[in-house]
């Protein structure tokens, strides 16, 4: 199962939608950096079964993460990377 990492605000570019268009059932999505601005994006909840958000990046930006998305720390992010294969980054 693929782990997708998105680091761009959905308002700034297409990284999130590009990612969601390449999602396979069971894949997971991790929002990091400006990607955390996507926590309330309806497309995310509609397409992704498993969504995660890097807590430090959300707190740093004053973004509140809804309960539908699991807030994770760096250790959990690493564990997700170990559990999934391959890992794809969507950026800029």
């Amino acid at each position: 199962m693929t782990l997708h990492i998105v680091n761009q605000s959905p308002y700034a570019g297409s990284a999130l939608s590009d990612c969601l268009n390449a999602l396979h059932p069971g894949d997971a999505v991790v929002l990091i950096e400006d990607g955390v601005y996507a926590v309330n994006d309806p497309r995310l909840s509609a397409s992704a079964d498993n969504s995660f958000c890097l807590g430090a990046d959300a707190i740093a930006r004053g973004v509140t993460v809804p309960e539908s998305i699991e807030t994770i720390d760096e250790a959990r992010w690493v564990a997700l990377c170990a559990e999934h294969n391959p890992i794809v980054s969507w950026f800029r």
Binding site: M1, T2, S14, D18, N21, A22, L23, H24, D27, N85, P86, I87, V88, S89, W90, F91, R92
Partner: protein
């Protein structure tokens, strides 16, 4: 070296971002090292296939670099059909000498089949 299946995803348009050129360079280098990757052009990466005259802006022609892939052992290019349609490109009009162009309807399933992905 142990065999790992490697996929290179190119999703940036040529010239506006160095990643289009440097991504291709990385693909050529992997292939020259006998780690021939599969290549997927998706999102703006499909623009690499357009006929182009980069001399106009003092750049080297990236479509020509792309055309070198078969010499390095990459004989198939995978294209995201949706990305082409969204950009008004008719897949039937595309060709690259020496290269088989394969359209993908479901890039997610394709990506999931690899061990490693290099994103450019």
């Amino acid at each position: 070296m142990p065999r790992k299946s490697i996929l290179a995803i190119c999703r940036h348009a040529p010239y506006g971002n160095a990643l289009a050129r440097e991504g291709l360079e990385a693909i050529l280098a992997c292939a020259a090292m006998d780690q021939v990757p599969a290549v997927l052009l998706i999102n703006d990466g499909v623009f690499l296939l357009l006929e182009q005259d980069a001399q106009q802006i003092g750049e080297k022609n990236l479509r020509r670099n792309l055309a070198a892939l078969p010499m390095f052992g990459v004989e198939t290019l995978h294209l995201c059909e949706r990305s082409l349609r969204e950009r008004g490109i008719d897949p039937a009009q595309l060709s690259l000498p020496g290269t088989e162009l394969k359209l993908l309807q479901n890039p997610g399933a394709f990506i999931a089949g690899f061990d490693q992905v290099l994103s450019f």
